[in-house]
Symmetry: C2
DNA sequence: CCACAATGATTCGACTTCGAAGCATCTAGA
DNA sequence: TCTAGATGCTTCGAAGTCGAATCATTGTGG
């Protein structure tokens, strides 16, 4: 293990960060324009739409934001917009369960095609099928590795399960 | 929209976004802990340290932030911290040229090893050399494609290019 | 039953980022 | 020269994120 990275490895890191930054900016613009949603809001709605039932705030936060307060804020906005509902949990009075409303599902369905189109145009289009397969495998491995790595005192009070899809 | 993305392509996109989000969060923590710098501030200092001479605000902003006002704010903070200097340009009275100070160079030198170490541990470690090479090539291609792609309603008023709409 | 810690969520303040509007300067054309 | 538009940067307000502190509930030990 070398102490210093090869120059090419650093360049890989920079390319990765800049490309994703550009992609993130593009999809953020699209979501704001077509659905008046932030990227996080879209992620939350998509997660709720895809889940079987309502989720608690903690389950919903996992993997989307790095602070609970941020989720509280966004969930409040989504509730005010009529896209989700919040209510007390039956089992645990401390917990708040969040459910997507019909309007929320419709909004996701409305903005999803445009979202996918942006991804297709910016990420999929310039790559070959084998490139995409390779990228998918590589990033899944990196992601899993990071999830497992010691959180290093990240303030997220980790909960039990980890969601896989979406 | 008959040809939506393959499920695997969408998963590639999600893996990419989540992995980079985790990586970004990790390096941000490291920079804040070891140098009291934000990621953008570090990028600006690194860019200035690496350049031959001072840069104008516009040159400095290119590729780092998506708004000029954000750069103005950060440059002000860096100047207040004594890490950069700002002064009028000789050729163009409108322009502000930014130069890194010795303290700025020293701070970059101080935090860079830890920064590289985080990247090595989270991104490089779980991948093989060939994976890294492939990733570098793929992301460089994606990045270049996005840079060329048009509809960046980004406020980057480029020197020679001219945007038609919006 | 009663402290007391752990857990789920919210409130609050500080910081960052962006977009629109504004000011100053440069440039091109009549 | 004079005027209008383009360009460089800053100011200002709105929105988002995070961390620390806080409130409420659950669980545990005496």
């Amino acid at each position: 293990m070398a102490d210093v990275l090869e120059p090419g490895q650093l360049n890989t890191y920079f390319s990765l960060m800049e490309a994703v930054s550009l992609l993130q900016h593009a999809v953020t613009q699209q979501l704001r324009a077509e659905g008046d949603l932030s990227y996080v809001q879209f992620e939350l709605l998509a997660r709720l739409s895809h889940s079987d039932g309502p989720l608690t705030m903690t389950e919903l936060a996992d993997g989307v934001v790095y602070s609970r307060s941020g989720l509280t804020h966004q969930a409040g906005l989504l509730e005010k917009a009529g896209l989700v509902t919040r209510g007390p949990s039956a089992e645990d009075q401390r917990a708040t369960v969040v459910a997507v409303t019909e309007a929320g599902r419709e909004l996701v369905a409305k903005v999803l095609p445009g979202h996918v189109e942006v991804v297709r145009r910016l990420l999929v289009a310039p790559l070959s099928t084998s490139d995409l397969d390779a990228l998918g495998g590589i990033m899944a491995r990196v992601r899993d590795h990071m999830r497992a790595e010691p959180p290093r005192s990240v303030a997220t009070r980790r909960s039990s399960a980890r969601n896989e899809h979406l």
